[in-house]
Amino acid sequence: MSKLIMVGVDGSEPGVRAAELAAEEANANGAKLSIVYVIEWSPYSFNTPEENEQRHKRREEEIDAANTMILKPLVEKLSTTGIEVEGLVFHGHPAKTLNSVANENHASRIFIGRTGGSGISQLLFGSVAGNLVQTAKVPVTVVP
């Protein structure tokens, strides 16, 4: 089984830097790179009936948007370095999902960006990186 390095991205600059650093690392170790985008989603939210009805359609749209706007450009860019790159989209709790995807695919390392923005978004994203550091079973590299 070939080595796998995983990077969690969120469409932010630090995410891109994390992906680039992860690509370098993969290149150096001859590992495969998985770029993972997690769409924040909880099975325990409260929705209107109409939202429920549209949910399947929205989900496809969300996955589509994540693929075309964030993952595809990254995958294309990093493929040029000669490594094997794949982009994956999941719904769920960001840190938990990154963790479980890493476990399932036996990733040897996880890279993640830390947004230096202000306010709530930083708080939220900061907690993803922080959470991941706390719970991951493999080394985590946090990229500012």
Binding site: I39, W41, P43, Y44, S45, F46, N47, T48, P49, E50, E51, N52, E53, Q54, R55, H56, K57, R59, E60, E62, I63, F90, H91, G92, T97, S100
Partner: protein
């Protein structure tokens, strides 16, 4: 929830007159009138012409208050509606004497359907209960399906349409009319309703339409049409489906809309100072604002308001339960006596009209109106879940009557029984007012959050019912933008009407429509139950064999 519509009306009215009481000097004369109304209420006298509200509740609304407002358009509409209503209302709520009590056939129809389902599906209400909890917890959710509607979300959405004012306001009335023993039969009927809910929701998912754009439409109209066609009865299926759609549209506009809006208005006036409120007597203004709020959510698709409500409502429900539990905790010493009374009076009620049978019927009615099992409404909400196994959604839905009736209604009942029950000084109170008084005696400021909860419950129930009505409407007129928008605008218009003119005849009509939904729905259950049973057996067999993966166990074993 919507079911209690009828009661809500009376609740509203009773609150209105409670309010008028609180405006002391001005209305001092009305007290006499009120007292006599209360006496009739306690005796459970049925007043001819008051229809559904009076028989559900036995309470005569203080008619005088309405008469003053009944002029102009109001009177005109009433004039048109009354004859139509007389026919339809009497047909739906046809009652027969039954061991000295009046038995509404539609209630018997619901109860017999529920008993049938309980027996036919081998006590699925008990056997499937733990599996339902596991499903809601997500044990069987494939991680690859994350992002779709979860079982929890479907349950929460359906519950927001079911749990509501009736859980707070109608239970006290049940106790006043039927004594503590009626609570016992309400709980029994709650358990039975779990089985009919299981069947109708399984059918809803099994026969829903998956539209080309990826959205879904489901509900009894689709299961009747497609299911009966499969059985070689396409004609009957189509007729029943159309019948259901029409009843759901009217039921939605009345019980799911006007009644709720009206209830919200009365409660809002209550919070903002009663008769002194700046909104007192300005129902149309409140209605307009409320209609705009509803409109931006359902027409404008402004999800933030819906989001807020959908988040606040469960919170309020939990808050209500916590409040009730605090009251129970403080009065803990009286709980054994209350529980004892519930059991003792179930079989030997003292002084209740109709004796044992009378109490049984009252309890069953309350449960049927509260959890809507057999009505078919929740099946529309549950159909949105994208599961490969329709049975899973049925199992999850059986938690609804449990939470609604067996848990929430029972807790309200205990609150009443441990506080104000038997106290003659509260004879002038009813509905929400009684629950409010019961809580206030223990914690003085509880009534305010209670009123806020009622307004929010009304709003979320309207959002849910607007969807049910819309599905009936688009079933009749086809799925198109125009059909969609036209219904939603009509819905908003009815919000204003509901707040400004309380039309007893229109509400009676829509109540009749809601219960008429049970006629085709339960017929469909009888026809299609064998299919559901087959699926259910296969599902449980596959769960046992491990063919259906329990992801929680799987993950636990991995680690």
């Amino acid at each position: 929830m919507k079911t209690q519509i009828s009661k809500k009306l009376f609740v509203i009215l009773s609150i209105a007159f409670t309010l008028s009481l609180s405006a002391l000097p001005v209305h001092s004369q009305s007290e006499e009138r009120t007292l006599s109304a209360a006496q009739e209420w306690v005796k459970g006298i049925e007043v001819p012409g008051l229809g559904y509200r009076s028989w559900v509740t036995g309470i005569q609304p203080p008619v005088e208050e309405e008469v003053e407002e009944a002029k102009g358009i109001d009177a005109f509409v009433d004039k048109i509606m009354t004859p139509i209503n007389a026919v339809i209302y009497n047909a739906v709520f046809f009652s027969v004497p039954f061991f000295g009590s009046d038995l509404k056939l539609v209630v018997a129809w619901l109860v017999v359907g529920a008993v049938f389902c309980t027996i036919y599906f081998g006590l699925v209400n008990f056997r499937g209960f733990l599996q339902a909890l596991r499903l809601v917890r997500g044990d069987y959710s494939n991680p690859n399906d994350h992002g779709e509607v979860s079982h929890f979300q479907a349950l929460a959405t359906a519950l927001s349409g079911t749990v509501g004012v009736g859980n707070i306001g109608a239970v006290p009335v049940l106790i006043v009319l039927g004594g503590p023993g009626a609570v016992f039969w309400m709980i029994v009927a709650g358990f039975l309703g779990m089985s009919s809910k299981f069947c109708e929701c399984t059918l809803g998912v099994k026969y829903r339409n998956e539209n080309p754009d990826g959205s879904v439409s489901g509900g009894p109209m689709y299961s009747l049409k497609k299911g009966l066609a499969e059985l070689g009865k396409p004609g009957l299926g189509k007729i029943l489906a159309i019948f259901f759609s029409i009843t759901v549209v009217f039921g939605c506009l009345g019980g799911g809309n006007m009644f709720q809006a009206n209830q919200a208005y009365v409660q809002f006036v209550n919070i903002t100072g009663g008769a002194d409120s700046f909104l007192a007597g300005k129902g149309w203004l409140f209605g307009l604002v409320f209609a705009i709020l509803v409109g931006v959510v359902i027409v404008g698709g402004i999800k933030s308001i819906a989001k807020v409500t959908e988040k606040v409502v469960p919170f309020m429900a939990i808050l209500y339960l916590i409040g009730a539990l605090i009251v129970l905790f403080i009065n803990m010493d009286r709980i054994p006596a209350a529980v004892g009374a519930i059991f003792a009076n179930a079989f030997t009620p003292g002084g209740v009209t109709g004796g044992f049978v009378g109490v049984l019927i009252l309890g069953f009615q309350r449960a049927a109106f509260s959890n809507e099992a057999g009505i078919g409404s929740a099946a529309i909400a549950h159909s949105a879940v994208r599961t490969k196994e329709p049975v899973t959604e049925g199992l999850v839905s059986l938690l609804e009557p449990f939470i609604d009736t067996v848990v929430i209604c029972t807790i309200t009942a205990l609150v009443i029984l441990t506080t104000v029950y038997g106290d003659p000084s509260i004879a002038h109170l009813s509905g929400v007012g009684l629950t409010s008084e019961a809580m206030m005696r223990t914690v003085a400021w509880f009534p305010t959050p209670l009123s806020i909860a009622v307004v929010l419950f009304a709003f979320s129930t309207m959002i849910s019912w607007s969807y049910y009505g819309l599905k009936g409407w688009t079933y009749c007129f086809g799925e198109s933008k125009a059909a969609d928008i036209s219904f939603k605008l009509i819905f908003c218009l009815f919000v204003i009407i509901g707040c400004s003119i309380p039309l007893a005849s229109v509400l009676d009509f829509s109540d009749a429509m809601i219960f008429a939904m049970a006629i085709p729905n339960i017929l469909g259950i009888y026809f299609l139950a064998p299919l559901v049973k087959k699926e259910m057996k296969s599902y449980f067999a596959r769960v046992k064999s491990g063919e259906i993966v329990n992801y929680r166990k799987l993950n636990a074993s991995k680690n």
